[in-house]
């Protein structure tokens, strides 16, 4: 038996090959797992559970089938799909989990997080994150009509459409001191996250203890997952 971890699929209408690859992954891989963890940015954009877009419905139906076959599915918000709510999760057979939850992964306490909270070097982004993760902001946003929300989402994308997409290299990655702080706070020796699109396994020392940070990959030309079994972890990728 295994537990699988994925993130950063950025599912959207203009990349149907990623959706297809994901469904294939569910039917051929996840079906044999005991649990599937989705660690955020699963959808490229989410304007509310009442959005009737076909993609979300298809994905819910596929996930729900998987869940019906006995695979537990856990969903954590990312910076793109932070508005995904209980009602959609229920429809998709998923359990919402909090950011920075600690799970017992075959005997090793493991901290799970999307990863954007680790990128403290990007002050501009952290400011935005604080705004949109605020419950009052979210409530107000969700109280608007679907059409208005779609327009606001487009507008937010537009703002990120400024010509400033190139950012200094170090601020796009996690800040090492924040990694250490969060791992210490959670009292773990292992961290799994996505967000940075820099899949890798990093060994680090915290208080003379060997720790590991595993970064999940984004789905583009390749699919990525972390496969955890009682005999160890493997970070896997395959062409899609």
């Amino acid at each position: 038996m295994s537990q699988l971890f994925i993130s950063d699929l950025h599912l959207n209408d203009s990349c149907p090959h990623i959706t297809r690859a994901f469904f294939h992954f569910l039917r051929t891989r996840a079906i044999h797992a005991e649990a599937l963890y989705i660690l955020g940015d699963f959808f490229d954009v989410w304007v509310g559970d009442d959005d009737d877009a076909a993609l979300a419905q298809e994905v819910a139906s596929e996930l729900n089938q998987l869940n019906q076959q006995g695979v537990a599915i856990y969903f954590m918000h990312g910076n793109r799909d932070f508005l995904l709510g209980e009602s959609y999760a229920t429809k998709a057979g998923m359990t919402l989990i909090n950011e920075d939850v600690v799970i017992d992964l075959y005997g090793t306490p493991t901290l799970l997080t999307h990863g954007d909270s680790l990128c403290t070097g990007d002050a501009q982004y952290q400011q935005f994150r604080t705004m949109v993760r605020n419950a009052a902001w979210q409530q107000e946003f969700l109280s608007q009509s679907l059409a208005t929300r779609r327009a606001i989402a487009a507008q937010l994308r537009e703002t990120s459409q400024s010509m400033n997409s190139m950012k200094k290299e170090d601020i796009m990655d996690v800040a090492q001191d924040e990694v250490i702080a969060q791992m210490q706070q959670a009292n773990v020796t292992r961290l799994v996250h996505g967000h940075t699109h820099r899949p890798a396994r990093h060994i680090l020392q915290i208080n003379d203890q060997e720790c590991e940070r595993i970064v999940l990959g984004d789905w583009h030309d390749h699919g990525w997952c972390l496969n955890a079994t009682s005999s160890g972890l493997t970070l896997e990728s395959w062409a899609i």
Binding site: S160, S162, M163, N164, S165, M166, E169, H197, D221
Partner: protein, 163 residues
């Protein structure tokens, strides 16, 4: 040869029409149209790059021509003193804004034909006035509206000329 006459001095640029034909022609056209006259370097990050060519001194964004194809797969590297096109997260979205690398930024190079790997298209280099670039990268910056890293005292491209 193109010269950007700024209030800090002249920056001389050589475009690479061989390796980045569409991007170089696009830039030359903006110069010929006088588009860059009166635009500023609105985003200055020491240790990274200086970016300009899109906003006026009043921080009005100028209307551009259509977006161009990203030629970042041309083998040119984002090295210190090279010019590359700025863009949004869409690889093929460059218009007029450009930046001058003030450090070797290899992570901006093309590494694959997908949105995270397309990279930023280098289309020329500074052949004179690198001291002006270095003066610019060192100016004091702060936030202005939604923008960060904005020079406190404007660095203005007063005119751009072709020799």
């Amino acid at each position: 040869m193109i010269t950007l006459h700024t209030n800090y001095g002249d920056i001389v640029i050589e475009l690479d029409f061989d390796k980045a034909p569409k991007t170089a022609a696009n830039f030359k056209q903006y110069v010929e149209d006088g588009f860059y006259n009166g635009t500023i370097f609105h985003r200055v990050i020491d240790g990274f790059m200086i970016q300009g060519g899109g906003f006026t001194e009043d921080f009005e964004q100028k209307e551009t021509r259509a977006t161009i194809e990203n030629e970042a797969d041309n083998g040119l590297q984002n090295l210190t003193g090279t010019l590359a096109m700025a863009r949004t997260n869409d690889p093929h979205s460059a218009t007029a804004q450009f930046f001058i690398n003030v450090k070797d930024n290899s992570f901006l190079n093309h590494s694959g034909k997908n949105s995270s790997g397309w990279g930023y298209c280098v289309f020329g280099k500074v052949t004179g006035g690198m001291d002006v670039v270095n003066k610019t990268k060192g100016v004091k910056t702060g936030s202005k509206g939604f923008h960060q890293d904005v020079p406190k005292e404007a660095v203005i491209i007063q005119s751009a000329t072709i020799a």
